[in-house]
Amino acid sequence: MNEAMNNILNSRVPDGPLSEKWQNCKNEMKLVAPNNKRKYDIIVVGTGLAGASAAASLAEMGYNVKAFCYQDSARRAHSIAAQGGINAAKNYPNDGDSVYRLFYDTIKGGDFRARESNVYRLAEVSNNIIDQCVAQGVPFAREYGGLLANRTFGGAQVSRTFYCRGQTGQQLLLGAYSGLMRQVAAGKVQMYSRHEMLDLVVVDGVARGIVCRNMVSGEIETYAAHAVLLCTGGYGNVFYLSTNAKGCNVTAAWRCYKRGAYFANPCYTQIHPTCIPVKGDYQSKLTLMSESLRNDGRVWVPKDVNDSRLPSQIPEDDRDYYLERRYPAFGNMVPRDVASRAAKERCDAGYGVGDSGKAVYLDFKRAIEEQGEQRIREKYGNLFHMYQKITDENPYHVPMRIYPAVHYTMGGLWVDYHLQSTVPGLYVLGEANFSDHGANRLGASALMQGLADGYFVVPYTIGHHLATANLKPVSTAHPQFAAVKEDVENRVRKLLSGKGDRTVQEFHRDLGEIMWNQCGMARSQVGLESAIEKIQELRDQFWNRVYVPGVGEELNQQLEQAGRLADFLEFGELMARDALERNESCGGHFREEYQTEEGEALRDDANYAHVAAWEYTGNDSTAVRHTEPLTYDTVKMTTRSYK
């Protein structure tokens, strides 16, 4: 029997009451002495919030870090695009917030599909993150007295979100990036930009290095280390159209999956409710309008299906503020999955607005009347500016039109409490892992998780691995590096042999259409089964008909994209398979067969209160599904209600 088949997913959750677990874990972990840290090399792949914060923190501690990113500068990772804010349980507004409440909101927001202990730790370290960022000079919004300001985000009844205008992700990333640059100058971090990780090197069962392609010279390079941190973000671009940056991809995570890391809950994807609607077949990406807008914007559609009047001519009585109607307690601030489904429900019923009928209004009229245009401009100026650039409409005068779009992926590589994957020595941080958001992520929590993992979790847990794993010296001269390098070179060669009649982008659009229609906001058994077939067909077609120009030894963007798409074509099938196997609706995973009479998601806690972690077995269509049961010792699983 396959040895891995017997592998029980050991989450290594520490003993003790929930609130003491992290402290107990820290007390018991082995340490690496300060003067020994310089003997260890650590590879960090990706320089977003998780990667940059981890790389900087580990270098500050004395480790030798090699950091890699595919962008031309570490500062451009897609964390930069997060707009609204970052949560923390500071309770500065004195409105009753606490670590427990942040924990509970996050667990509930995730529809009781996240690991209790991880989420509690996340809430626990949230306050340290704010302190750390302020100390770096991150210019968080402040009150007139000079103290930090907060705003409210979806799924919460307290104000706990810290923000920098509509550019919070940018400012937090620049804070982490500045720490990273400081360590580059200190010689503790070697920075490799325009490098794409194409494979993981596992020696004697432990992750010991990576294989990269230098995206300028095209050279395939190998790097060895004592541990590898994967901070490579999410896989939302499997849908082609998403709010992710164009370069975001699943390749690094997928290569690790193929080397033995289990992929957890790939079907959990977040469809963000407030994005600018799709407008043409040439569209290359979707743009998010921050959830913070729902603090002041009101979502509505006309009450009458046939109402074709301009929004300004529709009087109050003829408007259906459907979120306020259906969810009076949370109103426009319901969590993202709920808001997205409600928008889809209205549009599917024919109430949608705009040319396509696939949009609802987000209206600031009342907020502008009450607070003045200047105040609204201060809060959301850059978002309104961006909206106007894209749509040619002025949202100060005309309500925005918005529609849900793929935004974030809660699934990712399976990790234990230490953030270690099923491959020892391979740690996975931020969006690339599955750990903290369950089936749905609350707004302003992604930034929190990325920085928690990088600043305050992995710097502790990696030491335990290095101190206990008894690692032998391994360099890139080890035969395993040559073997993996050859795999990568063969793969690149195979892609470059594609001289068919269809472009990478055409195939990517086709894949995106399958995924959006059958594995998007609503899923069904029939749809998913047909999606799996279609993806398999598309994958065959891709290898027979794709056209990849040029050669490998040059800057070749089509080759980069082709490699990423080839992995998406394999990953998409696993995602559909995971959605098919999960016979319930929870959070962002909505199976049409499992809903209440009111159309709300219907969970099946008796059979599906577990993490699904998929093991690669050598074939794209026969991955093995393992489960990690989710037990809730502190909270009681309830039906989420935001009414």
Binding site: E60, Q71, D72, S73, R75, R76, H78, I80, A81, K90, Y92, N128, I130, D131, Q132, V134, A135, G137, V138, P139, A141, R142, G145, G146, L147, L148, R165, Q170, Q171, L174, G179, M181, V184, S193, T243, A245, K246, K279, G280, Y282, Q283, S284, K285, T287, L288, H385, K389, I390, T391, D392, E393, Y455, F456, P459, T503, Q505, P549, E554, Q557, Q558
Partner: protein
């Protein structure tokens, strides 16, 4: 309102083609038809590339990533203007409705000796990272921070610091400047940290080192032509350059700090 009936554009795209850093480049003309005015500029380049691929030609290489104006990856000279004709707009946020049917659009990479061309429209902007490495940070290790509210920051200082912090590091200021100066970029970070209490301990050292590195990279000097401000997609004002100059003079004459980076 997005009206479905807008006229499609027919354009001539004159674009810089250069295979690598050490190869000679040249302009090439391509005809494009059926361009929707609602397309973004980069979507227009996508269409051009699909057309080139259909003809078995190599597509035009250009940097881009977030396509929502925040990552700073994209940026080209469009008819001689960095990021094109719109105010406070990155190339990815520029839309084709700004152009007329029949136009010829000239597209070039950023031009600066500090930014060598890697391929077509892609340049090497790593000098900007090195300026940051010279001092664009507060030296605080993870775990050392006191409570976030222990140091109040006057709201106008914080807002003004945020104005500088908004820089996206795209390099348009360098490209727009006749001297290829990186003063706006450098000043944005110096100014942000000079106005915050967290930036005070290293204030003098920071400005001296960042300016020394900027000079060492081969960027030119500022002669106050304000082109950088006009081109900046993040609205960074040249008043930050004024502050940079004040900070530099103060650090040079009124502090004991010395640059640790060799002066040019």
């Amino acid at each position: 309102m997005i009206s479905p009936g807008k006229k499609k554009l027919k354009l001539t795209i004159r674009v810089w083609r250069q295979k690598g850093s050490n190869e000679r480049g040249q302009f090439r003309d391509y005809l494009l038809q059926g361009i929707s005015p609602d397309m973004s500029f980069l979507e227009m380049l996508d269409i051009l590339n699909e057309q080139l691929l259909d003809h078995g030609e190599e597509p035009v290489a250009f940097d881009h990533d977030c396509r929502e104006g925040i990552c700073g990856a994209c940026g080209v000279m469009i008819n001689g203007q960095a990021h094109g004709p719109d105010n406070e707009t990155t190339t990815c946020q520029l839309h084709m409705r700004r152009f007329q049917d029949g136009d010829t659009i000239v597209i070039e990479p950023w031009r600066a000796s500090a930014f060598p061309v890697l391929r077509d429209l892609i340049v090497d902007r790593s000098p900007l990272d090195r300026i940051m490495q010279a001092g664009g940070y507060v030296s605080v290790n993870t775990g050392q921070a006191p409570d976030g509210n222990c140091l109040p920051v006057p709201r106008h200082d914080q807002e003004s610091a945020m104005d500088g912090a908004a820089c996206i590091g795209c390099g348009a200021c360098v490209a727009a400047c006749k001297n290829a100066s990186a003063m706006l970029f450098t000043s944005a970070k110096v100014s942000q940290l000079a106005q915050l209490p967290q930036g005070q301990p290293e204030r003098a050292q920071r400005v001296l080192n960042m300016v020394a590195q900027m000079d060492a990279e081969g960027f030119g000097s500022c002669t106050n032509t304000y082109e950088c401000e006009a081109a900046c997609p993040a609205g960074v004002s040249i008043s930050h350059i004024a502050r940079l100059n004040r900070e530099y003079v103060k650090a040079s004459f009124c502090s004991t700090a010395e640059p640790t980076i060799p002066m040019k």
